[in-house]
């Protein structure tokens, strides 16, 4: 490649479309499928109607969501298309109405289920990123942009809420659903820990496997106070025999020795016994039946939630969880035997970036939950007063709108993070560009975190080595390199796995490996 070609490429990286491209791709993916995914997760809104005798239960089924392009509702009731410049000048929000299919369904107990009312109704307004697919200026030529008072050089990639332009800060988080092994100290002793941030549908659970100083393994995960014996948990998940447990962890003779120590100290021998033992831990002082119910619920709900997948049997999921815990145990032992080093948390392979679309998805999820709670309340109220139940009279679109706008306007995001949205730096053009390509580490700036602030070799080609603020934020606020490419989640995970299975990868949960023809040679 000669110098001319290289110049061509680098120029391409500086073109207007490229500068905020990561924001557009992420937000468009959110509009295109993320919103529908969130609605499908929710699927129904249950109500307490039907708890009384002689009353038929009522629930609401959620269907397709649809977002149009930004519009403004004037005081006289007319509705018009809204362009970004008008939103800035009039101090209004650049937001588009969101519609959703909803059906109120009654019955199921004595009568047959029937649809009481079904319509597509406006559920609220979604702030729209300037320059995204649903933006009114998408696809405009420079002349057209100038005609409506827009700057053709403006990169877009931000939102307009109450007239102020706000960027959503890309945040750099530790990669979820990965085993990270590290050493820790407890009561003065060095212990080995394997950690996983298990994440599924906005729920995040930290699972720890610790090797205590007497060589025994303990697991801790949310809803269980303290920690629970590793072998007990594995048995509760359905991996029962000593042999199987040992071989699932490792074939290495030294690790096998460690594992045998653990098995000798095991409190229970059977799956039933293990679940009972777990029950006494999660619901101590309660009835036996409740303990069992609770133990099963905790296993399915709070332990390694990322291993759940649509279309995979509950039993398979449990076994997968057991195998996963065995991998974590192996990581602990290997670290103890110095077969491997502790994982580097600052390595960029262990980082994931949350861009505007991911942040909006979190926001939309909580906003939809809030709306669902309001719909439930309104339905129960209407039913109590013997009113006709209809979709349009139980949805208050303000609820969702406020929940979406307020965090963007203030920066106080769901989950207690603040400063997520910032006023676009309009000091000069370069300021805007730099601001749109900035990313932030969630680590506290008041603590040293020397390693996190250091330039890491894996940032090469991804993060600019020199652009970072001086002072407390040094090394925690970073900027993208010019030629950085951000890869995205795949749309169809099942499809990807099927493809992998077809290429010969075996043992993917939920996918029957296609019978492999032995290579004839």
């Amino acid at each position: 490649m000669d110098i001319k070609d290289r110049r061509e490429i680098s120029r391409e990286y500086f073109s207007r479309e490229r500068l905020a491209e990561h924001h557009f791709r992420s937000f468009n993916a959110f509009l295109g499928r993320g919103m529908q995914e969130v609605v499908d997760e929710k699927a129904t809104i249950e109500t307490d109607i039907g708890d009384k005798e002689g009353e038929e239960p009522v629930y609401v089924e959620l269907g397709d969501v649809r977002v149009v392009t930004p519009r403004v509702r004037e005081a006289d009731g007319s509705e018009e298309l809204l362009y970004p410049q008008e939103a800035r000048l009039r101090n209004i929000t650049y937001a588009a109405p969101v519609f959703m299919e909803m059906a109120i369904i009654k019955g199921g107990e004595e009568e047959e289920e029937r649809v009481v009312d079904q319509t597509e109704t406006k559920i609220g307004r979604m702030p729209i990123m300037v320059g995204s697919d649903k933006c009114n200026i998408a696809g405009f030529t420079d002349e057209e942009l100038i005609d409506i008072g827009e700057d053709p050089a403006d990169p877009g990639g931000y939102f307009i809420v109450n007239g102020s332009e706000r960027v959503l800060m890309t945040s750099e988080d530790l990669a979820p659903n990965k085993i990270l092994a590290e050493t820790d100290t407890k009561y003065g002793d060095t212990i080995e820990v394997a950690k996983t941030f298990s994440q599924r549908r906005g729920y995040r659970a930290l699972v720890l496997v610790e090797r205590t100083r007497d060589g025994l393994l303990e697991v801790s995960f949310p809803s269980v106070s303290g920690s629970i014996n590793f072998v007990t948990l594995i048995r509760a998940l359905g991996l029962e025999s000593d042999e199987e447990i040992v071989h699932r962890v490792s074939e290495d003779p030294e690790i096998v020795k460690f594992m045998l120590e653990n098995l000798e100290a095991a409190e229970v021998q059977t799956t039933e016994g293990a679940i009972e033992e777990l029950g006494t831990r999660v619901a101590s002082g309660q009835g036996k039946n409740y303990q069992l119910k609770r133990a099963n619920y905790v296993i399915d709900r709070y332990l390694l939630p990322h291993l759940h997948e649509d279309g995979v049997e509950e039993e398979d999921v449990r076994i997968n969880k057991a195998y996963y815990l065995c991998r974590m145990a192996e990581a602990c032992f290997e670290l103890a035997l110095e077969r491997r080093d502790a994982d580097d948390k600052d390595h960029y392979a262990n980082k994931r970036l949350k861009v505007s679309g991911d942040l909006m998805k979190d926001l939309f999820r909580t906003a939809l939950n809030k709306l669902a709670r309001d719909v439930k309340y309104q339905l129960e109220r209407a039913n109590m007063r013997n009113r006709q139940l209809s979709v349009s009279t139980v949805v208050r679109s303000d609820v969702l709108t406020e929940r979406l706008e307020h965090p963007i306007a203030t920066g106080n995001w769901v989950g207690g993070r603040s400063g997520v949205s910032q006023l676009v730096d309009r000091t000069d053009y370069m300021g805007v560009l730099s601001h749109l390509r900035r990313l932030r580490s969630p680590l506290s700036r008041s603590q040293p975190h020397f390693e996190a602030r250091d330039l890491h070799a894996t940032q090469w080609g991804r993060i600019c080595p020199s652009e970072t603020p001086e002072g407390p934020n040094c090394g925690l606020v970073k900027n993208f390199a010019q030629a950085m490419e951000l890869s995205q989640n795949v749309e169809d995970e099942q499809g990807l796995k099927q493809e992998l299975a077809a290429m010969g990868v075996s043992g993917i949960p939920g996918i029957e490996s296609i019978d492999q023809q032995p290579a004839d040679d």
Binding site: A75, D76, S78, E80, R396, S397, D398, T410, S444
Partner: protein
Amino acid sequence: MSTTVTACPECEGRLRSDDSETVCASCGLVVAEDNIDHGPEWRSFADDDTNPERTGAPLTRSRHDRGLSTEIGRSTRLKGRKRRRMARLRRQHNRTKIGSKAERNQVYGFTEIRRLVSALGLSDHIRDRSCVLFESAQDEDLLRGRSLEGFAAATVYATCRTAEVSRTVDEVVGEARASKAELSAAYDALNRELGLPTGPIDPAEYLARFASDLDLPKELEGRARELVQRARDGGHVDGRNPAGVAAGCLYTAATEREYPLTQQAAADAADVTPVTLRATYHALSEDA
């Protein structure tokens, strides 16, 4: 808030307020200055240990307690017995928020008003005034024997009329949980007992909304506005359904400019029959 003056004391012009002062838009008189900022004066940052904000949300008339009540929050740090105790306290605390049956009705009425206002896309100003009107109806004991939903809908309808952003009865009923009969029973009571400052509705108030529903160009709407004025001068407005007159003027404007708009479409937008619309159309064409 709606308790302060709403028009200029000198010239009765519209008032416009920003963060610091309230100014008459027509004569420039400064009606009020050094307003109290009801918002928080500090914001908290992620790293701060304590929250320096001393104020909550601003007062609002759209809540039965004006948004002053406190709430017992939830914390994940509390465990076991203490957590259960807080849950019981929270329940008792929430019960104390509503003192009487009348207050409970008010909570329900206000919720319905807020829902209606959001469904009809009206401003917060209308919301607050509707709630105040609902409160005065309660004070006058008008609700006895009439439905809460009807009153909620009627207050919204009445406030829209007095604020010159009229909605038709059918538009309000379409979103409300009340029936048309309930709304008119409540509205009649309000009008009779409280003496609402409402005159006949100006058909021009409907024009913008119908025009945008029908996707008509701006020029047509402007022309229709002139036609409404002409109809009023010709005496064709009095005693006629204002929505029908508005639709008639839009239709007349469209035929003048040869814009494709059927009588049926225009009538549907205004929720009237084409016959009603034609009355205005014929009256206007005869005058011309």
